[in-house]
Subunit: 311 residues, 4 copies
Amino acid sequence: MQMVAVATLTAGVAGASGYAGRELLRLIDGHPALFLQTAQARSDGFDALDVATLAGCDIAFLALPHGESHALGEALAETGTLVVDLGSDFRLDPGWVYALPELNRAEIAGARRIASPGCYATATLLALAPLAEAGLVDWPVAVDGKSGVSGAGRTPSERTHLSEVQGGVQPYSVTGHRHIAEIEAMLGSIAGEEARVTFTPHLAPHSRGLEVTCYVRLRRPLGQAELEALLRDRYAGEAFVQVTQRPHPGLLHGANACHLGVWADERTGSAIVAAAIDNLVKGAAGQALQSANIALGLPETDGLTARGLGL
Amino acid sequence: MQMVAVATLTAGVAGASGYAGRELLRLIDGHPALFLQTAQARSDGFDALDVATLAGCDIAFLALPHGESHALGEALAETGTLVVDLGSDFRLDPGWVYALPELNRAEIAGARRIASPGCYATATLLALAPLAEAGLVDWPVAVDGKSGVSGAGRTPSERTHLSEVQGGVQPYSVTGHRHIAEIEAMLGSIAGEEARVTFTPHLAPHSRGLEVTCYVRLRRPLGQAELEALLRDRYAGEAFVQVTQRPHPGLLHGANACHLGVWADERTGSAIVAAAIDNLVKGAAGQALQSANIALGLPETDGLTARGLGL
Amino acid sequence: MQMVAVATLTAGVAGASGYAGRELLRLIDGHPALFLQTAQARSDGFDALDVATLAGCDIAFLALPHGESHALGEALAETGTLVVDLGSDFRLDPGWVYALPELNRAEIAGARRIASPGCYATATLLALAPLAEAGLVDWPVAVDGKSGVSGAGRTPSERTHLSEVQGGVQPYSVTGHRHIAEIEAMLGSIAGEEARVTFTPHLAPHSRGLEVTCYVRLRRPLGQAELEALLRDRYAGEAFVQVTQRPHPGLLHGANACHLGVWADERTGSAIVAAAIDNLVKGAAGQALQSANIALGLPETDGLTARGLGL
Amino acid sequence: MQMVAVATLTAGVAGASGYAGRELLRLIDGHPALFLQTAQARSDGFDALDVATLAGCDIAFLALPHGESHALGEALAETGTLVVDLGSDFRLDPGWVYALPELNRAEIAGARRIASPGCYATATLLALAPLAEAGLVDWPVAVDGKSGVSGAGRTPSERTHLSEVQGGVQPYSVTGHRHIAEIEAMLGSIAGEEARVTFTPHLAPHSRGLEVTCYVRLRRPLGQAELEALLRDRYAGEAFVQVTQRPHPGLLHGANACHLGVWADERTGSAIVAAAIDNLVKGAAGQALQSANIALGLPETDGLTARGLGL
């Protein structure tokens, strides 16, 4: 018999009807210290969007469509409530902390305005940070991303129609993906030099799950053992990042995990680094909650210990 | 009212029970000038493997597991029968013609020993040939391949188990894929210089369909219009290669087609070239039949005009 | 060397941008005697809808949304052009022939106004006709249908969103499916008595493909051999219907085929009959073309001999 | 701030490498009162099978292949350890309690030998129990089941090969499914009369998830409102059973939930009842844990409160 102390803080979610919002509700429901005060959305079955109620919460999560958080986020932040925005509105805004805990945990601890990274950026940054920090990258890096359809959001479109995405992996928004800016900014800051990425997102015929494979020309040759050691050492002690032989998003559904794989391609002097996540958890709602835990002074893994479904 | 003349040549298939073999049967069934004389395999429902019967055909297709064609292929070729091998056994053998019609049609015309390229090689070579021929490539090129599960063959394994591949795209056999050799050999021959490729195959949760995305650092900057023109001009008049905005294997199921997309990434001085095929048709049985048509003096498109199912 | 005579008749398609319309274009493209004169739709890339051009064709196919064929169909039929409607508008209209060739081929031969059955009705009718004709059915029959997402059409909706349909088979429109009327009408006519069906359509996570499983209480006991013989005899000589051990839509993609399976459940005095089709081919465009061939006096299998992709 | 008391009991799992076994590990990992003492399997990475260690646990779960639990289960039960078998070995054995908590919770409370129902049986019994208990069923009932591929287990076979199951829903093991006996036995016991079921399992192209649709001829007519009330009343207060408009396994991945839908088909005097579950949770590991909680005197929902992933 042991006794466990449980504190209760109130949380609000704006944008609860979208996929990231729903995922926040699921995770908050299993969180030992958070109580869902209000779930707001324009759809039936939710509370109406209301700043005052959100401001009355200890923490407000914004899971609105990209571009729709700006006014609400600033207004809430003014009230002193901790705000975690899952959209792209504040990711390049110096007044907000771009929060990827494994890369800048200390900054998050004191923050009240948190911009949570996008799913592609999360996977790419976790894959490339160890090499970038070590000054090993001959830029640009080619990044090939594959996302399930849930990444396109809940609004039906040709891109989400099962018949249009079945039977193959297809590139989309080539070279112009809106997330390159946040990737390059963070990588450049880590590397202490200008970072350049060539990025191609692909749509794959599944719902959850995202994988990126990064092709890095190395400034000096590294063998398989060195590369693996570099990644393992960098993420030693991290609860949510693991170096594996088989990074596969299908193993991680529902988990706030990132699985990394790394391979030396000595013939070409390159390293190949792959990262797999659940785009709705470590790529969205889970990571937002992880940052919230840090900012609120809670254990970082609170509400985030569930294993991936695995199949 | 028009009159159409139809000649009949006999064909044999060894390895008819595998996925490439079955696909050959399907295509030969719809071919106006070929008659299936014998479909051989170790499984029930097929003729037993028999060299003499194959040697009695005008053309013998070998669709055996990789490594099992060698003795049979040489024995058949000795008899003078046209042999088209779909396995990897002869792809690097100078006594055989490595047959990718859009790249070396003239060589195929007179050949009696034909090694048909692998699915990943076909897509990669068609994507990169125009740039390689023009001397534009700063090697190595990073090639990110995604294949459906049918590419792993019919024998059940963990890799083909739906529960193991669902929910994400996963890298496998990284850096060591057996097809790099044929890709580099052909590209080097086209480019007139040593060609180097970093290649990562991925397994995706669908059956047919294969896509590769190639990341090319350019020796001199090229814009979007120039890149598109380069590809369009290179493949002008080709029945089976098309430059499109949306290369997607899911549109090509059943068709002997390759769809190419190209994008200039001027920020990084790179070109991104994507190729989509049905791995069992243009990546295997269809291409073998295309080469057979050429070698037999038949119209190249005979039996290969079906459109992809599209969804 | 043989000589083949090829006649050319002109065909027009109204509604060419939808999934059934696209499928008609694909099939007409491979038809030896039809030439596509006009492909009409409201979308870009097609001809505008125009009655006069359609009326100038030997045959006009209407693949419009349900309820939109009525005026156009009547107007075209007045001009004497052979009209084949794929929608539901005329299926219960006594001025039109409800055309399921394996059940009423003779009526179709002389028809100029043809209403082609829906996909669920086609599978259900082919499954149940032999038992109904033999007076063996204790009505009602329970019919459990499973369709891929392409059956919901091309317009994106929650129902077609991959994330909403993944991970399970779900019932929809229970008891109220609009196709019950045509099923019961045709079965009643065949059986010479009132026929009653309890029907539940389900949405399954794939694109093409439809299966129905019918649960029939028998008026007198029949064993496995008798049931199989009943079905085999009924469809002996039919090019497109086959009795198999494993009716599976996944084997039939692209083919104008219906695979039937039948099992005696002697414990309960029941027969279970399953039918598998490609909903876009035997369930829509292929069957419409089959009826058109009959009505035009062409060989019934013209343009419809392609095998299913099989995987 | 609240204080929560947590007791710790030890659990062992035999058969930890299979899909149900893995799922037990996942659930035990999140259970507040169970500690995983030993995870045993023949595969690498697990403890070897060992009766003594299992006997030392407060509870032993057996997740072995069907037919392999018998000797181990009896031996363990002799030692007094609580045994919960997930296989079919003891489901018809009167010395063991067939444990479906919503139907026979009281029996489970005092049990030490528990046989947990199969996935198809769970869904079918929860769907039909209210009607059977009320004496409303004109037997036989037609039950149409659809399962994802994970239900076929982890050993690769043709049945689990993605290429063989894609593109459609297919019947298998028609009329002979081994689970009919347990379904009829439990239904007969509930109904107080002989119960007969015609059952056809189908394989669908997804991993987790199972749905059954039951076609019931009613002994007296019931309308939609009465049917819904019957089900809602029967399961009022149940944590894991819910009556919904849209029973869909894809909403329940990872959850110990059963969603029921019911529809009156007044035209035919029938009721249609559908049940959706995650076959690995409410259909296997979750239900076993639910019964274990009851038998151990723990709160029934311990470790089972996670919501389904939803997409």
